[in-house]
Amino acid sequence: MSEFWHRYRRNKGAVVGLALLVLVVLLALAAPLAFPASPWEMTGPPFQRPLGDYLLGTDMLGREILSGIVHGARVSLMVGVVSTVVAVSLGIALGALAGYFGGAIDDALMRFTEFFQTIPSFVFAIVLVAIFRPSIISIVAAIAIVSWPPVARLVRGEFLTLRGREFVQAAVVIGESHLKIILSQILPNAMSPVIVMASLMIASAILLESALSFLGLGDPNMMSWGYMIGASRSVMRQAWWMSTFPGIAIFLTVLALNLVGEGLSDAMNPRLARKGRA
């Protein structure tokens, strides 16, 4: 572990990203303490500029922007993490089956994956959320449904190469069940690229969620960054801060996750780490 950290630390960007990410997580955790009132509640006069009585100003209804941002962090992180967990599980299951059994199963599953990779994912996510009504569950499900294919392809590739290795052959000879071989022999050895991909997927899930709620497809009961920006459009000329700060919040969070992803990738594949990075 300490060696892993040592390698991770060599990527300066990744360290900055990790620090940023910890900050966002702390902010999200502290939200109910720092702003006990609901972020939907009007706590001040409308259209207050930033750096006055309210650090980041207030919106047209007198709701605090900062309160919206810290509460929105909870929603963004939660949607990002949960949808990624679902997508990764789905991708691992299908990829493992395809790569382990090969043949017709592999063919069928890969056609299925290709189909989901071809259809325009954002439009599909919009259709899913709209038809099944916007809610936290439909949003998480839609993001997971459009995000799993790359995981499946990755896991399949890993399984294809690991399948023929001696330790797997040995397990087959001993008579271990397929399920046991998949779960305890191959999967643990295929996990490191999946972890890297997952960290990047959380980032794109957060971007996707923000775009959905910007279009008015957010959960109507949850404050989110995309919603805040969408709601501020009509008053953008008078109140630049309303759209600017939530956007910076999205940017920093997504950037942090991308940097951490790169750092993980470097630390897990030390041989490849220097490629393309001088």
């Binding site: 325009p120 923000s210 775009a211 910007f214 940017f251 997504v254 001088a278």
Partner: protein, 328 residues
């Protein structure tokens, strides 16, 4: 033999595209049935949008009292004839509505794509040939930044800066309304309106292509055939053009094909932000009106766009790749 091989390849790719399209149609059909509520009212829009007579007519038209397989056959038959149904809210056929919005979206996405690929590859090459200099650092950091920024927010910030504060570019729409213009003036007017949305849509992809090109160039630079070219005494420019770039660009093209869907998806938010009158904006209007049939029409058309785009990139790939001969 070569042309026969390519023809065969094209035929196989076309067949695959048709299969994917068919699968999308079937999925659309299932989505309408899986949606909460009566399929007829889903097709008509949110409850209350349609009167009883229309709902009854829809039931009959889609055979909603028939077995599911018959319904599916009717539905597929309709779509094949490009009958995407009727938008009750707008009192028009969906095919007409998406059809008239298509040119605006094509103009926006194709412009953005060309800009993104040109600028992205250019910047990537620039960074790769100057590794470790400040130019490389600026490009790399900027690419990292734009890769993490939501498109719609970039659009809003661009409006604040270039339209509201500087007053350089129009923020909304596709042309200036209510003025007499010659066709030349109109083209210029549209181009003027196109700058902000196209640039905003492109910027995310510029970031991706620049990163990819840079990494790919660095990898190819160390390969044997480049060393051979250098040993032969070719000029650096010639090596770059004929050897390094030609090989380094392959993963970029592959990726550009995969990204086609993202580009089309991005145009939905961009058209919404800039009130660009294309199918993305239409999707947003359909969302506001809960006009699901129209939304599914947009989904179908964007899927067709992506499939066509993938076909084109595959063909371009086969033309550019110096190593393989297609279908051989």
């Amino acid at each position: 033999m070569r042309s026969v091989g390519r023809l065969d390849f094209v035929a196989r790719r076309l067949l695959k595209s048709v299969a994917i399209l068919l699968a999308i149609v079937v999925m659309n059909f299932l989505l309408i049935r899986l949606a909460p509520g009566d399929p007829a009212s889903v097709i008509a829009g949110e409850a209350g949008a349609a009167d009883e007579k229309y709902i009854a007519q829809l039931r009959e038209q889609f055979g909603l009292d028939q077995p599911l397989t018959t319904q599916l056959a009717v539905y597929v038959g309709n779509v094949v004839r490009f009958d995407l149904g009727y938008s009750y809210r707008n009192q028009r056929t969906v095919a007409d509505m998406v059809g008239e919005r298509l040119p605006a979206t094509l103009l926006l996405t194709v412009t953005a794509f060309v800009v993104a690929l040109g600028l992205g590859v250019g910047l990537g090459v620039m960074a790769a040939t100057r590794v470790g200099t400040w130019a490389d650092s600026v490009i790399t950091v900027a690419a990292l930044g734009f890769y993490a920024t939501p498109l719609f927010w970039v659009g809003l910030m661009a409006i604040l800066l270039f339209s509201v504060n500087l007053g350089w570019l129009p923020a909304f729409g596709m042309q200036t309304l209510g003025t007499q213009m010659t066709s030349w003036q109109r083209a210029l007017d549209i181009a003027h309106h196109l700058v902000l949305p196209a640039m905003t849509l492109a910027v995310f992809f510029v970031a991706i292509y620049a990163r990819l090109t840079r990494a790919s160039m660095l990898e190819v630079q160390d390969m044997d055939f480049v060393r051979t070219a250098r040993a032969k005494g070719l000029t650096p420019t010639r090596i770059l053009r004929a050897h390094t770039l030609r090989n380094a660009i392959l993963p970029v093209i592959t990726f550009a094909g995969i990204q086609a869907g993202q580009l089309v998806g991005g145009s939905i938010v961009i058209e919404t932000v800039f009130a660009w009158p294309g199918i993305g904006r239409l999707a947003f209007e359909a969302l506001l009106q809960r006009d699901y049939n129209l939304l599914l029409g947009v989904f179908f058309l964007t899927s067709v766009m992506v499939i066509v785009f993938n076909l084109v990139t595959d063909l371009v790939y086969s033309l550019v790749d110096p190593r393989i001969e297609v279908g051989a």
